[in-house]
């Protein structure tokens, strides 16, 4: 009996060890809400990197000496951009004496999950990054920033009216943009020249189709469109924007007054379908499921001559094409008025963030011209209108943004359909009528 008791005690001791490790580790966590009792992490493992312990220790010592130095969790560090870490470093430095800012790396593939679980647990990050076009998902959970901007004209002047409109849902300013992003088309200059296709400054769908026919006749694929990374419906979305623009109804469309079952939508769908039906899309029948990596590979190998790309990644893609020069190609418009699909990456503050006013101040600093300039200098497209861009390629890209038009705030169901099912339904499962039916159904349900 004694041995057994000893053993059980040993067991409980082991369990206690694990749990106390948990408790100790909890104290070394970077979660600011527990920083009040932060003790120097003696047993913390080395991988809890130095910055974690210093920020925990810093906030602890700061709260002991100078009183409250609030900690702000900023889920907006984009490490894939060379400017990303630079911008967050500048942010932390700029507000070093006011706040402890914890800049967290964005996990693009899991963003929705991270945000929802954070908000649900009532311990969210103070600022989250999210694409403006999908903000309908979180519109009711985000702080309305309009009052703050109205009270601070200097802040408001950072942005253009178009940008603010794109971030407004139901009259509430739910987020603020930190970078512009839109779809561009990249082209293989040498191959296009060889076939004799000249790229105009703007062209219609008909002219575009003619050029594609020429390329196809030469035995190559003219165009492609990746179906992952939320790009699947780019062609349709661009098309419907240009249809609305041609009719002078762009604002109506942005406001959501043009239904997805309308004639405008139908026109856009037909234009899209034509490209697939004519066999202009790589790799032919598999175009409905082609992934971005496959498309990119084909483009680099010279099998496809024109490929859509996100503006922020355009320069990198262009630089990576070692065998040929990459040129910018304007999106074809369905009639004579051009309009392109734009999007912005934004930052929003959840309603249950711990320190909303502080978060707003952090936002203002991050979106100021000083920090936004870093973004521009690295070759990307800032949102702050007071920043000049110096890179000529990027300038050309931004020139396209003149025709940038905003989409209505689609519901997540509609978005999901656009990105995952529209192309398949359009090309394989029934065509334009099926898509119209489905879109309208989703529109009414949302």
């Amino acid at each position: 009996m004694r041995n057994q008791k000893k053993f059980v005690i040993l067991l409980l001791a082991a369990a206690l060890l694990v749990l106390s490790f948990a408790g100790c580790a909890a104290k070394t966590a970077t979660s600011a809400s527990t920083s009040a009792a932060a003790s120097t992490p003696a047993a913390s493992a080395p991988a809890a990197s130095a910055s974690a312990s210093t920020s925990a220790a810093a906030s602890a010592s700061a709260s002991q000496t100078t009183g409250e130095k609030p900690a702000i969790k900023f889920y907006g560090k984009c490490i894939e951009y060379t400017s990303g870490p630079m911008m967050t470093d500048a942010l932390e430095k700029a507000l070093a004496d006011k706040y402890t800012i914890d800049s967290i790396q964005i996990d693009w593939s899991n963003m929705d999950t991270v945000i929802r679980t954070g908000i649900a647990s009532n311990d969210p990050c103070d600022i989250y990054n999210y694409p403006a076009s999908s903000m309908a998902n979180f519109a009711d959970m985000a702080v309305d920033l309009m009052p703050y901007l109205d009270a601070d004209p200097e802040f408001k002047a950072y942005f253009s009216q178009a940008e603010l409109d794109a971030c407004t849902i139901d009259g509430k300013l739910v987020c603020l943009p930190w970078e512009s992003n839109f779809s561009v088309i990249l082209g293989n200059k040498e191959a296009l020249d060889k076939i004799g296709v000249t790229i105009p400054d703007a062209w219609t769908m008909d002219e575009f189709n003619a050029a594609c026919a020429k390329i196809k006749a030469a035995g190559l694929y003219p165009f492609t469109n990746a179906t992952d990374l939320n790009r699947a419906a780019w062609i349709y979305r661009n098309a419907i924007l240009s249809v609305a623009a041609a009719e002078g109804k762009s604002q109506d469309f942005t406001d959501g007054n043009i239904s997805l079952g309308s004639d405008e939508s139908k026109q856009a769908l037909e234009a899209t379908k034509a490209l697939y039906d004519n066999g202009y899309m790589y790799p032919g029948e598999g175009a409905v499921t082609v992934k971005n990596d496959e498309a990119k590979a084909a483009f680099y190998q010279g099998k496809v001559l024109m490929m859509p790309e996100i503006a922020a990644g355009a320069k990198q893609t262009a630089d990576g094409a070692a065998d040929f020069t990459t040129v910018l190609i304007p999106w074809p418009s369905v009639s004579d008025k051009g309009a392109i699909l734009g999007g912005m990456n934004c930052l929003f503050i959840p309603k249950n963030a711990k320190n909303i006013d502080a978060a707003v101040e952090v936002l203002k600093t991050y979106l100021s011209a000083d920090i936004q300039k870093i973004h521009a200098d690295q070759g990307y497209i800032p949102a702050n209108v007071n920043v000049q861009v110096s890179d000529p390629f990027v300038q050309k890209v931004m020139a396209q943004a003149e025709t940038f038009k905003a989409e209505p705030p689609y519901s997540s169901a509609v978005f999901d359909y656009l990105n995952n099912s529209l192309t398949a339904d359009l090309v394989l499962n029934g065509g334009v009528d099926t898509v119209i039916q489905n879109l309208q159904g989703l529109e009414n349900a949302g």
């Binding site: 009996m1 057994q4 059980v8 067991l11 409980l12 369990a15 929705d112 999950t113 929802r116 679980t117 908000i119 649900a120 998902n137 009711d140 959970m141 179906t227 992952d228 790589y282 790799p283 032919g284 029948e285 598999g286 409905v288 499921t289 992934k291 990596d293 496959e294 590979a297 084909a298 190998q301 099998k303 309603k351 249950n352 997540s412 169901a413 999901d416 995952n420 099912s421 192309t423 398949a424 339904d425 394989l428 499962n429």
Partner: protein, 294 residues
């Protein structure tokens, strides 16, 4: 009978720590999820009661019905393939020497070690209709007519994903059954060997029956894992095209985290658990064997 009492007390004492852990992170979330399935919640604010509405909408939605069907097909097909092949490998390696066997075991287990996301996209390239290895190979050997758009066509999309799943899960089955076969003392084969039985006959009459519990375990484990599989299918097709290859985990994740409908997702989870539980009990019945002591 004092011994029986004593052992029982020891047994319970040994059991308690594990049960505590399981209670905390499996039982509690399970019941939480069950309660959630009768509510309507988007992650913000308080949940609202929703009765059986979630269950009704799940059962009536053709997409979720298709997802359930796909899940069952995927799980059973890939488990069957994985178990048969895994067992085959284990038996084959058994015949080889230790060192050789070890190398083969390592290599054949390596698919299980690669991150699923990398595996997924790799096979996307493999199945690419234009420059993928498969179609290129078919063209090379003159079987160009057999080319397909593997991940898009109705008939082949699911099959290709199942193929990759088998590729990945065979290793685990091999490891488990090999370990079990190792535990069977050689002496047990002696008599049948002396009677002139061939290797395969020995396996059939002695090896397999003795390790049946382990085969059952491997099958159940693989089946459970395949039902839960998310990353592989998602990286290869995202559940598409147009939800053709959508399985329940994919639909659940989307419903919960993209649409913000946690109640519906919870209801799906409960229904799914029922399906999985039934499947496992079915397998248990099929592969019923006795535990031998040796």
């Amino acid at each position: 009978m004092k011994i029986k009492q004593r052992t029982m007390r020891t047994g319970v004492a040994y059991l308690i720590p594990a049960v505590l852990f399981v209670l905390l992170f499996s039982v509690i979330p399970f019941f939480w999820n069950f309660v959630l399935s009768f509510q309507k919640w988007d992650g913000f604010g308080s949940p609202a009661a929703a009765g059986f509405r979630n269950y009704l909408s799940v059962l009536q939605n053709p997409l979720t019905r298709r997802a359930f069907g796909n899940s069952v097909l995927y799980a059973f097909a890939s488990t069957f393939g994985g178990v048969v092949l895994g067992l085959l490998f284990a038996v084959l390696i058994l015949r080889l020497s230790q060192k050789e066997g070890g190398i083969f075991r390592l290599i054949l287990y390596s698919p299980a070690m690669l991150p699923t996301a990398v595996v997924g996209i790799m096979f996307v390239f493999f199945f690419n209709p234009e420059m993928g290895l498969l179609n290129s190979f078919l063209r090379l050997v003159g079987l160009g007519g057999l080319q397909h758009i593997w991940l898009q066509e109705r008939g082949t999309a699911m099959a290709c994903i199942i193929f990759v799943a088998i590729w990945k899960c065979t290793g685990s089955v091999m490891m488990l059954t090999f370990a079990a076969l190792q535990g069977v003392p050689r002496s047990l084969y002696e008599s049948s060997y002396l009677d002139g039985a061939s290797f395969w006959q020995q396996m059939k009459s002695i090896g397999f029956p003795l390790i049946k519990p382990m085969i059952l375990l491997a099958t159940i484990n693989t089946l459970g894992a395949q039902f839960k599989s998310y990353d592989l299918i998602f990286t290869m097709t995202q559940g598409g095209p147009a939800d053709l290859t959508a399985t329940v985990p994919i639909v659940m994740k989307k419903t919960a985290f993209i649409y913000g409908s946690f109640g519906s997702a919870a209801a799906m989870g409960v229904l799914f658990t029922v399906v999985v539980a039934i499947s496992i009990l079915l397998i248990r019945r099929l592969l019923r064997g006795e535990t031998y002591e040796y």
